[in-house]
Subunit: 191 residues, 2 copies
Amino acid sequence: MKSPIDFYFDFSSPYGYLAAQKIEALAAEYGRGVTWRPLLLGAAFKATGGVPLPQIPLKGDYAKRDFLRSARFHDVPFRIPDPFPVSTVSACRAFYATAAEKQVPLAKALFRAYFVDNVNIGEAANVLRIASSLDCRPDIENQAVKDRTRAEVDAALAKGVFGSPYIVIDGEPFWGVDRFDQIERWLREPF
Amino acid sequence: MKSPIDFYFDFSSPYGYLAAQKIEALAAEYGRGVTWRPLLLGAAFKATGGVPLPQIPLKGDYAKRDFLRSARFHDVPFRIPDPFPVSTVSACRAFYATAAEKQVPLAKALFRAYFVDNVNIGEAANVLRIASSLDCRPDIENQAVKDRTRAEVDAALAKGVFGSPYIVIDGEPFWGVDRFDQIERWLREPF
């Protein structure tokens, strides 16, 4: 039995969203499951000195163009939400507060709400409404949920995760949806 | 007659080196030439607040692993040179001081010297020796050459170039050797 793939992402990351549309089918092709691991990119940025792409001179303008073009390239519905980016603390807590079997449907619904329907998932009320549509009632103000979320994010940072998407296969890390070609080859056979 | 592709790169950039091994064949397949445009990434970093990858916590360690894995993926001989990165002012000046028909062979020789043979192309004497092996005698201390190099770098920055490799096709920019899949589709038909 092969280990599942670890899929780290931030709910506010366009490339994380694109990766989320493809990773399960790719993993399944090679007999793997996927462990979804949302994190808070802001916490990772503190470690690397990173800043959100849209704020970087030159690179920010390029990034917006690349988000849109990459979505067309991968044939995935996408818009740049407004506002963008947003805090994903509520979304992340909602994920970790939800029963395992509903976590992935919730993650997909949150991504779709933000990057297709332009719903501001930075607002807790919107996160709870999306969860409710899946019959989930995550208690995102619960201290245990907050602690669990913090522990998950800290564990990701401790493993060296610094971006979104960040995929780990049997200890081998891949950063970016643009590493899916290497991921596919690695799943076939490490090189 | 289709316009040539603009290929911006820094001689100290591993991903620029990988791109240099593939871009001419790809362009030729779609009836295009390639205009090689070396630049000084340090100057671009001043505009974007960027720092060389190896210096960034977490990301630096990942980058080294990704350089090596990407070279294997693309089946290109590669090692991480020591020292790395280096200033590429001399290499850049040598390129712009050289007659057009010898510029690309010189660029390839500089890349190979650095990323295959571990020759420190940050040192002017090594750059001149490599040029000499191609019967080139670039006058890299000449003020006109310095000015030309500066003007080329400034022109690249003015066009929004912030990384290496950075490829422009009929005004459409692509950053990274990992955009070659999108570049290929764009050359077939813009999407």
